[in-house]
Symmetry: C2
Subunit: 354 residues, 2 copies
């Protein structure tokens, strides 16, 4: 196999509600569909080897990387990363750090993925914080909402970097030209907002490498008002989860009411194909899962309830990231800025000393 053309993906087989079966199925589906992908299934060897036997797939495209420990959902992230050196998350992250994998995917403990991403894979020089970028379905496509929960006490300079990284991702990985960037706010006017938004707004306005369109009210996010939706991680996490919760609840109410009479049951049968088409349009899983941006390698956080399809597309997402050279496109930008800043400081210091 030509290694430069091949994408190598480390997949946490032990993370998520349906581990390891759905992750294994996703890996098998991915390698069966695309030749130039190799999946490193990270987890308990005996279990994974036993399960894999049941599948037919190109054997050379899936390899098991043993990891004897599992970080559970409720575990304290920092302690888990420090203490469980042989967990699937730590082992998988190290594969990325050591250049043995192009990306790591996990549906496990979000906090541990976050801590591992920052401490094991590490941030690109110049990137102050690494956000989770959630790819959310909207009326006519998808938007990128970041930060979706990695940094719950972010600062204005962090938000500006999120906006810039998100723009690059949206343009290069999702294919939206000149993506519209909005900052989540409580009103459309520039003077609105909390202290953080008021501080961030003029900085975004002054940014020359993004297409900043101003404030974005939460109400307009589902309609796709902005391609890149910027906020700190607490609000972002709440927004993404409220969006999800509203959908779940409305579906549940709709189901109940459709089953309430013979008449509505018949109606439900008739609308089924149309509903299915709408649901398909509304499924963002084809874009993969939430990438952590600004790291030295790609880390992707899949939903805890991810199934095979989500894992397959997250594997393809790592391939796109590599093909588009996104790590470098984001990395070089921020590294160069960090260098320039350092040189300016050094020059100033030298001038002062002379």
């Amino acid at each position: 196999m030509d290694n430069t053309a091949c994408t190598c993906v480390a997949l946490d087989a032990m993370g998520g509600d349906y581990a390891p079966d759905e992750a294994i199925q996703g890996a098998v589906d991915a390698v069966s569909e695309r030749k130039n992908i190799k999946v490193l299934l990270v987890g308990r060897e005996a279990i994974l080897a036993g399960k894999l036997k049941a599948y037919t797939y190109p054997k050379e495209q899936i390899e098991i990387v043993p990891a004897s420990e599992v970080i559970e959902t409720a575990e304290h992230p920092v302690k888990a990363i420090v203490n469980k050196k042989d967990s699937s998350i730590v082992v998988g992250m190290k594969l990325v750090r050591d250049g043995k994998a192009d990306g790591f995917i996990s549906a496990g403990n979000s906090g541990a993925v976050l801590v591992g991403g920052q401490t094991i894979v590490g941030r690109v020089k110049g990137v102050e914080r690494s956000p989770f970028a959630a790819i959310i379905p909207t009326k006519n496509g998808v938007s990128l909402l970041l930060d979706a929960g990695a940094n719950v006490d972010a600062r204005a300079s962090h938000l500006v970097q999120f906006a810039r990284m998100g723009s690059i991702y949206m343009e290069e990985a999702i294919g939206v030209k000149n993506p519209k960037v909005g900052i989540v706010n409580v009103g459309a006017e520039e003077e609105k907002g909390n202290a953080l938004v008021k501080e961030t707004f003029p900085l975004l306005k002054a940014c020359t490498d993004i297409n900043f369109v101003g404030s974005c009210e939460a109400r307009d996010i589902p309609m796709g008002a902005c391609d890149v939706v910027v906020c700190e991680g607490f609000t972002g996490n709440c927004l993404v989860k409220m969006y999800e919760g509203a959908g779940i609840m409305l579906r549940s109410v709709a189901k109940e009411c459709l089953l309430s009479s013979t008449r509505s049951k018949l109606g439900a049968l008739l609308i089924k194909p149309a509903i299915r088409t709408a649901a398909k349009k509304f499924d963002a899983s084809a874009y993969g899962s939430a990438p952590m941006l600004g790291l030295k390698g790609l880390v992707v956080k899949a939903h805890g309830n991810a199934k095979a399809k989500q894992f397959k597309f997250s594997i393809f997402q790592v391939e796109t990231f590599k093909k588009q050279d996104l790590g470098n496109k984001i990395g070089k930008k921020f590294e160069a800025e960090a260098e320039a800043k350092k040189e300016t400081l050094a020059a100033r210091r030298a001038a002062k000393n002379n």
Copy 2:
């Protein structure tokens, strides 16, 4: 009319997208349905008098209070309240301040209602901040989410007061016994959260007069996981608007897909009654609009797109508030605490001086 048994409601006839018609219709509907209510319609006298002529209603139950100015939606709240002394919002608030009305309802500029509430009506002694309390529909009833946007940079002590005021409102005005109070958080565990939530959590836990159940993830709000949902105003505003936006968008997608074929159109006809029943169950307007809690009088903020039904129920909401003596129940609690605090401080000072 017996004035103690009668509720007098000041209604901003000039606020909202459908002013003044829907406000007038709401007032007419309210007084036609209930005897012991008097509505003071605040706004441009000639316009209101002209429009009112078209209606049949008990004349003694609606009175026009002239206000020549209107605060527009996009106006700067503080400047508007200061400069437009004869606006419907300022005039209406003064009616409450002067004891001429039991409450004031407006669908106008939220910021102006907020500023007017704090500066004209005024906060109860001991209340640090006055929140907007949004009454949101959930799967099996309603929850109270506060702060829905009045205080976008709130502190921990404010959130604790929101929780306590919200509990009283939920119990006395909505009728939920021993309401479950949750704090909006990014995870279920106690150690999760941003700095504000981490500071607030133990304070809520130590509160003896509320039924605090811990963290509430945004995903669980629509299912009605908590009766009183506490957060600062920025997150709260985003949550309420995202909830609304998700509903609007999903309805729009559903409509499109139902109209996409003859088969689905027929199905849509069949499910119509069931959907209507579900929508009715899901309509929180019978509970009124968002009250500002902790003021010396009741101020209610109706949605900008409020129609007659919403105004009518907001008028009834003022009646309930008065009947349940909620102003006093909230007021006395905080006033007594403020007094006790003052006495403790004075005693300490005296002890120090002796």
